[in-house]
């Protein structure tokens, strides 16, 4: 059953990283409901993307591992629901 997941991805802040991330989600036809991406304020060489997705738990787990295969991605963690997205996105928009 599909549901909302909040996906938080920590990566290097290189050109094309966001494209790589979105490409994996698109290829799996995972619906992106919201997305926020930004540089790490303390280190511009790093970045974070927070994505609100609508998909199944099984797909979420598979996509996580595919994202972590990307050379520049340090890790990808996800949480059920949108509350984490709201919290993370408001935290980042304060930055």
């Amino acid at each position: 059953m599909k549901q909302e997941f909040t996906l938080e991805i920590h990566s290097d802040n290189n050109f094309s990283v966001l494209n790589r991330i979105v490409n994996i989600l698109n290829r799996r036809r995972v619906r992106i409901k919201k997305l926020i991406a930004h540089e790490d304020e303390s280190d511009f060489k790093r970045g974070v993307a927070v994505v609100l997705l609508f998909t199944t738990a099984d797909m979420m787990e598979k996509v996580k591992h595919q994202l972590e295969k990307l050379i520049e991605v340090e890790n990808a963690v996800y949480y059920e629901g949108s509350s984490e997205y709201c919290e993370l996105s408001s935290k980042h928009s304060e930055v």
Binding site: R20, N23, H65
Partner: protein, 589 residues
């Protein structure tokens, strides 16, 4: 195989006196020096406007870097793949911007899915022209994101060496794959102080080799030790991790039968008593049927591709699955494993050899033998002893016998590929080179060329269908120019045979756009100064193959085979592995 360029010394010698100001060298020379430092000795490429500074610098490096001028960039990357597959070293490609780079896309996709280390260097327009739709400007980085393990655009000469170092590290480590470095022309031209080259030894965010968990090995060993009908599916990571010795030792200690995937062929000797056959849609009868009879299924360095599993809902439902795999994203992707060992195949097998008890499974192996005997009786005997026109099977069978299963055999995609995989008796690692996951027609001729340049001491034979041959036939020019003594066998049925087979079996014999009117292949080969022969009669076949193998030059052999021959066994699309057919279903079935 001689490079035709005049060999000269490098234009600039390194300055050994540290008190003197450092010499300045161009970004192009930084690139070439970096390649030399990485141990590169061959480059497959095609020049053009945006990579001309690199080719200009290359003029002075011909004693270190042997550049093979192909006839199309797709030929370059397939040649690099063939080189990489037989040597284990990365293949290197040069191409220019725009169409030069986009012509690499098919090869990149092929190399990515088949885990082949390839480093592509593409020229790009000047940095100030990026995004302006300049002549031969294509957004190569974004175009190739889905088909590369990693890629990068470099716009300043100072970043070239680091990008190349990372490229080689990423291409060759973990699960290997293709990378692309796109270098703008200004970066190629820019003069910078020469600097010492440092090979990449790690990337903060990239963990190529997993730390194997002993608990996973223990759980796998426990399942294996209890198993009554265990069964190993050997994939390409056996070859990539250099684990052929370990696989043999593991199988012999535990008595477990081994079947190979398409890319796993060569990982286990086909003449070993524990070898039970080739897996997949056109694999052997026993290995397919017994997938649904085993109690423990051990997938090693393979990804449960849909050509192996058929309908997943009917695949090995009774079995407890152990999946040994270096790429975490492959674990549980298609088949849910009861025990997953996230490790490279060699390390995992070494650990399992210690943990698993000695055992024998003779009765279980006999069940494979009986099924394979049935296949031999119903399929193979007819293919080896036909009454009419030549069959693909008998051609491959003779080649296998005459080379004692020890040649490097490169195949294209289609019926001839499946026939070769079934009947060529591969004995050694890195001798089967084929396009597996992508199924790229046109792969074989350039890949065979690259393979021969990689292992010149070995016999390299390309087995190709008439359709795929014509997709990259222009590489005969490269073979001619560099005198690459590759042997080319075209199995000509004047059809796109595999598509025609499906049309016959599943589309009411409606042969829609699959029959081909072919040119005189012998004349084409001869036009490229390649000795050539056409065989239509059985009495000429063995002599022609012997003549081909005796040739010290490139050689072309066309074998005219049955127009409507089919490849069996076959697991029909959408069916389970236990639904494997030995012959075409009767009308109404």
């Amino acid at each position: 195989m001689d490079a035709l360029l005049t060999k000269t010394k490098p234009a600039i010698e390194s300055n050994k006196d540290s008190n003197q100001p450092k010499l300045k060298i161009s970004g192009s020379e930084v690139l070439l020096r970096s390649l030399v430092e990485e141990g590169v000795d061959k480059i497959f490429g095609y020049p053009g406007g945006a990579i001309m500074p690199v080719y200009d610098a290359l003029y002075h490096y011909v004693d270190k870097l042997n550049h093979i001028l192909v006839r199309h960039e797709q030929g370059a990357i397939h040649a690099a793949q063939g080189y990489a597959r037989v040597t284990g070293r990365p293949g290197v490609v040069f191409a220019t911007s725009g169409p030069g780079a986009t012509n690499l896309v098919t090869g990149l996709a092929d190399a990515l899915i088949d885990s082949t280390p390839v480093v592509c260097i593409t020229g790009q327009v000047f940095a100030h022209l990026l995004g302006t739709d300049a002549f031969q400007e294509t957004d190569v980085v974004n175009t190739t994101i889905p088909v590369t393990k990693w890629n990068i655009q470099v716009t300043e000469a100072k970043d070239i060496a680091d990008a190349v170092a990372k490229a080689f590290y990423i291409a060759c480590s973990g699960r290997p794959g293709p990378v692309l470095v796109d270098i703008t022309k200004n970066a190629q031209n820019e003069m910078i102080e020469e600097a010492e080259y440092h090979r990449c030894e790690g990337i903060r965010t990239y963990r190529p080799k997993p730390v194997m968990q002993q608990s996973q090995v223990d759980a796998a060993a426990a399942l294996i030790n209890e198993a009554k009908r265990p069964y190993i599916l050997a994939g390409q990571d056996i070859l990539l991790s250099g684990a052929t010795k370990e696989l043999k030792e593991f199988s012999e200690k535990t008595g477990i039968p081994v079947a190979c995937t398409l890319l796993g062929l060569g990982s286990f000797p086909t003449d070993h008593p524990n070898y039970v056959g080739f897996l997949g849609m056109h694999g052997n009868y026993g290995p397919n049927l017994n997938t649904n009879e085993c109690d423990v299924l051990i997938g090693i360095g393979m990804r449960f591709d849909d050509r192996v599993t058929g309908n997943v809902s009917k695949y090995a439902r009774q079995a407890r699955v152990i999946h040994i795999e270096i790429d975490k994203a492959e674990i549980h992707k298609i088949i849910k494993a009861e025990v997953a060992v996230h490790a490279d195949a060699k390390e995992a097998l070494q650990a399992l050899i210690k943990k698993c008890k000695p055992n024998q499974h003779k009765e279980w192996i006999d069940r494979f033998t009986k099924l394979n005997d049935l296949e031999y009786e119903k399929v193979t005997t007819k293919e080896f002893n036909p009454s009419g026109v030549l069959t693909m099977a008998e051609v491959v069978h003779h080649i296998s016998n005459f080379t004692n299963g020890e040649a490097v055999v490169v195949t294209d995609v289609g019926q001839h590929q499946m026939t070769t995989s079934r009947y060529y008796k591969f004995k050694n690692p890195r001798t089967c080179v084929t396009s597996g996951g992508a199924g790229t027609m046109g792969f074989a001729l350039p890949a065979a060329m690259g393979a021969k340049l990689g292992v010149p001491e070995k016999e390299v034979i390309a087995v190709i269908g008439d359709g795929g041959y014509q997709m990259t036939v222009q590489e005969l020019g490269t073979i001619m120019q560099y005198k690459i003594p590759v042997k080319i066998v075209v199995l000509n049925n004047n059809f796109l045979g595999m598509v025609r087979q499906w049309q016959q079996l599943f589309h009411g014999k409606r042969y829609s756009c699959t029959e081909m009117q072919n040119p005189d292949f012998v004349k084409i080969a001869e036009a490229y100064s390649i000795p050539a022969r056409k065989v239509e009669n059985r009495e000429d076949l063995q002599g022609a193959i012997k003549e081909m193998l005796a040739a010290k030059t490139p050689y072309f052999l066309e074998a005219v085979v049955g127009k409507e021959d089919n490849v069996f066994p076959m697991v029909p699309a959408g069916q389970g592995v236990a639904d494997v057919l030995l012959e075409a279903p009767k009308a109404g079935q």
